[in-house]
């Protein structure tokens, strides 16, 4: 099912929950909506589901206006953030409910509910009410209730938020498998977790304050964030944003950071319009900072280790550079174990992975020959 959303606006009193959202989701696509809490994800999904009406804009499903399609023939299912299971009905009846409302014959209901329960490992809970299910079982029940109708459009609102880390991991894999098996079902998946969005979405739309700020593949978002908001939302640990000032020099433009000067040659074309002295933000991914080791891809600078956070396979280091600038970097365990708090080390930056943003609007400044994704 193809989904085309244009110019959706929605306000609740003084709160502008959505401010002109425009999106196109391909048939059968796994599309993730990534946005922090309060960005408007739930509001958007409810409008796509046809539960709430937008103040402005249109939702087209297979080029037909949503409001013209009767609820029964919309073929849309939604998994609510709160699960919204029917508390007075057993798991079986919860799963059967959409089929009963569609007047599916009793023995077919039995068969289809059985299949879904089997697939989601809910068979042992069929006789029980939702209140007695574990968080994971409730979540699978909510997913089952959405899937049992074989929807053409599946809306998922933070379906993993209530699960523990392991179950989350398993269920992420489960969703991808499901999507493959369902073949034609279009999935819109809303989450505040960049890991979920990037690992599952074929494309990701980033929502901030009710506006889509960027749409792209996971690697687009990671490598060419459209602005500093996307840059800091995508990637874990979050990107370092360091203030910098543009300098004009004989050998071309450069950027002054408190601890380091950067050659701005890769951005020269885009920086043409900016006068010297323009204030910028330099985005340094923690993964792009390395201790000096002989094969530097960029400039070298001294640092002092402030904090170490060993996470098993990798360690996150907080380092202080140029007086009081703090940077975060990640190292594989085998490199990190030698480094202790307060050590003086030398680091280098992989220039290829540096992003540049304007200070005032946060818009990305693209590299020569590379168009930043819209």
């Amino acid at each position: 099912m193809e989904l085309t959303i244009s110019g959706i606006a929605k306000r609740f009193g003084a709160v502008e929950a959505l401010r002109g959202v425009t999106l196109a989701v391909q048939p059968g696509e796994f599309f993730a909506i990534l946005g922090p809490s309060g960005a408007g994800k739930t509001t958007l999904l409810r409008i796509i589901a046809g539960i709430d009406k937008p103040d402005d804009g249109t939702v087209l499903i297979d080029r037909r206006d949503l409001s013209q399609i009767p609820v029964r023939s919309r073929n849309t299912a939604m998994v609510f953030q709160t699960f919204a299971l029917y508390p007075h009905l057993s798991t079986f009846e919860n799963l059967a409910y959409p089929l009963r409302e569609a007047r599916v014959p009793g023995d077919e209901i039995k068969r289809r509910v059985g299949e879904i329960a089997e697939m989601l490992r809910l068979t042992h809970t069929l006789a029980r009410k939702p209140g007695t299910l574990s968080g994971g079982e409730q979540q699978r029940c909510a997913i089952g209730r959405a899937l049992v109708r074989r929807p053409q459009l599946l809306l998922l609102d933070e379906p993993l938020t209530n699960l523990d880390a392991k179950l989350r991991h398993d269920t992420r894999a489960e969703f991808k498998r499901l999507h493959r098996e369902l073949k034609t079902t279009t999935i819109v998946y809303a989450t505040p977790d960049q890991l979920e969005a990037l690992s599952m979405g074929a494309r990701v739309g980033v929502l901030n304050h009710g506006k889509i700020v960027q749409v792209g593949t996971p690697s687009d978002l990671y490598e060419m964030p459209g602005d500093d908001f996307v840059a800091s939302l995508v990637g874990d640990p979050p990107i370092n944003l360091v203030p910098g000032t543009l300098r004009a020099g004989a050998g071309g433009p450069s950027i002054d950071m408190p601890f380091l000067g950067l050659d701005a040659a890769p951005w020269r074309k885009s920086l043409n319009g900016f006068p010297a002295g323009t204030r910028l933000k330099v985005g340094l991914r923690p993964q792009a900072i390395w201790p000096r080791g002989g094969s530097e891809k960029g400039p070298v600078f001294p640092a002092r280790v402030f904090l170490t956070e060993p996470l098993g396979d990798v360690t996150i280091l907080d380092i202080v550079v140029g007086g009081d600038t703090r940077l975060r970097m990640v190292l594989p365990q085998e490199q990190a174990y030698k480094i202790a708090v307060n050590d003086a080390i030398e680091c280098s930056i992989d220039l290829e992975q540096v992003c540049l943003f304007t200070q005032d609007t946060g818009t990305a400044i693209s590299r020569a020959g590379v168009e930043a994704a819209a």
Binding site: A49, V71, R72, A77, A84, Y86, P98, A102, R145
Partner: protein, 290 residues
């Protein structure tokens, strides 16, 4: 709900159990005293100090149904069976009616608010702000004009009207507390508005309905003033009959009175007991989920 101590729920220490027992006895003592008195002879009932050990008798219960009302006369039927039936019939019917109408109204107020919804709700409540006795004269006149005095229809209509505000407010609060996402889910699953009410919302408030039912039954069961003025010999209720028993040439017959009251509380106790679990869930609605 959090269990503050490490004790498994349901197993309190002896100290607490005894404390609770002591408080319960203080509350229950008057009821116990009435029940004991119901089984006492006239002499035992008046004995001082109070006798807790005595030979029980059923003579008071017999007198409830058959007794001499005039000195020296023969024992005759008192009509208590009819009055008992009246109390149950009038109370039960009016509470049920109020609950049905109240539930429909409450759902409307909760889900399809009118312009000025709050004002209507407030107005409904104002009818219960004054002592009902203030309205007695107009109601009495109304009943006379429409020939409702002494009829079942009249007193049932009146009790229904009295129970409605309470029912509407209680049941509305239960509907208000429901998770709206559940209804949206049902809408997406294809439910019509009526099925939404019948299959999704109503079953979720059953406990609340039971609680409302019990409270309304207790209030109605004990109503005296309007029953005294507006029922006739055929529609008289038990509270009226109890008061009529207090007088008499030979002073108050405490044993008889206690027997009446003992019989009188049985239905309320049974209803409350039968709905106990629902009642607990109903009155704690909102604090304990599921």
């Amino acid at each position: 709900m959090a269990n503050p101590s490490n004790r498994p729920i349901g197993k309190s220490g002896w100290g607490r159990t005894l404390g609770a027992a002591a408080v319960s006895i203080v509350y229950f003592f008057p009821v116990l005293y009435i029940i004991l008195t119901a089984f006492k002879t006239r002499q035992d009932a008046l004995a001082w100090p109070v006798k807790f050990i005595f030979t029980p008798t059923l003579e008071n219960f017999v007198s409830v149904f058959y007794r001499t009302t005039v000195e020296g006369g023969a024992a005759e039927a008192t009509g208590f069976g009819l009055y008992f039936f009246n109390s149950m019939f009038i109370g039960g019917t009016s509470v049920l009616l109020a609950l049905i109408i109240g539930t429909a109204a409450a759902y409307g107020f909760s889900r399809f608010p009118l312009r000025g919804n709050e004002t209507y709700l407030f107005m409904i409540l104002t009818t219960r702000m004054m002592p009902p006795i203030i309205a007695i004269i107009p109601i009495f006149v109304l009943f006379r004009i429409f020939g409702l005095s002494g009829t079942y229809v009249g007193i049932i209509a009146l009790y229904t009207a009295f129970n409605l505000p309470f029912s509407i407010w209680m049941v509305k609060s239960f509907f208000d507390d429901l998770d709206r996402d559940i209804e949206d889910a049902a809408r997406m699953d294809g439910s019509s508005e009526f099925r939404l009410f019948r299959k999704i919302c109503l079953p979720q408030v059953y406990a609340g309905l039971a609680a409302t039912f019990v409270f309304a039954v207790i209030l109605t069961w004990n109503e005296f003033v309007f029953a005294l003025l507006l029922t006739g010999t055929q529609t008289r209720t038990v509270p009226v009959q109890i008061v009529r028993t207090i007088g008499g040439a030979i002073g108050v017959d405490w044993g008889l009175l206690s027997a009446l009251e003992t019989l009188f509380i049985i239905p309320v106790v049974l209803v409350t007991f039968a709905l106990q679990n629902q009642l607990l869930r109903g009155v704690t609605f909102g604090t304990i989920r599921r």
